[in-house]
């Protein structure tokens, strides 16, 4: 059945959104880590 591709794309979309968000969390975390180390150097 053709509709199965809608099922997979919905599941894929869900996880893309979640992974994008987690990615943004990681990015923000890295930037903070860097700022923290810069502060410590001073």
């Amino acid at each position: 059945m053709n509709s199965i591709k809608f099922l997979y794309s919905a599941y894929a979309a869900t996880w893309t959104i979640h992974l994008l968000y987690i990615g943004s969390l990681v990015r923000r975390y890295r930037r903070l880590k860097q700022e923290l180390s810069e502060l410590k150097q001073k």
């Binding site: 809608f6 919905a10 923290l36």
Partner: protein
């Protein structure tokens, strides 16, 4: 507490895997919609999780205005942000489900429209937090959160009435749900709740850390040797707050 985090992470991953297996293999195939109905196991738990998180946001916002506790404010912002992520999932999976079943991507029915408005309100909440500086943001955002919560019933009612006046293509599904489907649905919801908790937890830790860095930078701005011009001149944001009381 810190040890608990990886344990929870592993547990959540296992649960999510089990939930996918349940949703794709174990759950019975729906008679009219076929396999595409399995989107249900992602769509509905995400919606419930988002609503729960927005509710947490409301409670935290009210609590912040009463107690002025910065930790509660952090909780409010975290729940709103993760809530928006789950709400986005709902709004994206909805049309993907609607297209093969109803033949259209979108319809302005009550649930869809009020979820969209809910999403808009919370995006504006996050925008407000981003555009106001951290001394004022908590109180302003808390006020907006309360306004949003008051708005939701009105949104729901008005759209519901608007739609009953203008008949829509009848939306299928409905009726009673197979108890096996219920079981799979609940398993999926539990898995997504754990996942949401995990994300909130990390986001909360990130926020605490951001505040610590901000505090350290604030002290640095005051004591640093390169303290030339005033903080107002170096930081237009502060100057703006001064002039724009």
């Amino acid at each position: 507490m810190k040890r608990l985090f990886p344990i929870l992470a592993v547990l959540t991953a296992l649960m999510l895997g089990y939930a996918v297996y349940q949703a794709l293999v174990v759950a019975p195939t729906e008679r009219t919609m076929g396999d595409v109905q399995r989107i249900f196991y992602y769509h509905v738990p995400s919606a419930w999780t988002a609503f729960l998180l927005f509710f947490v946001n409301l409670v935290a916002s009210v609590a912040y205005l009463v107690k002025r506790n910065p930790k509660v404010d952090a909780l409010a912002m975290v729940s709103a942000e993760v809530g928006v992520v789950f709400c986005t999932v709902v709004l994206v999976t909805g049309p993907i489900w609607a297209r093969p079943v109803w033949g259209i991507w979108w319809t302005w029915d009550v649930r869809l429209t009020s979820t969209l408005v809910l999403w808009l309100i919370y995006v504006s909440y996050l925008l407000l937090r981003r555009f106001s500086d951290s001394a004022q943001a908590p109180a302003l955002a808390a006020a907006l959160a309360i306004f949003g919560a008051l708005d939701i019933p009105l949104v729901y009612f008005s759209i519901w009435f608007f739609r009953t006046q203008h008949p829509q293509p009848v939306i299928g599904g409905g009726g009673s749900i197979d108890p096996r489907m219920w079981r799979v649905l609940l398993i999926n919801w539990m898995a997504f709740l754990c996942f949401a908790l995990l994300m909130c937890w990390s986001r909360y830790r990130l926020e605490t850390m951001r505040r610590e860095v901000e505090e350290a930078q604030a002290l640095e701005s005051l004591l640093g040797d390169d303290r030339g011009p005033s903080a107002e001149i170096r930081n237009p944001k502060v100057a703006l707050n001064r002039s724009g009381q």
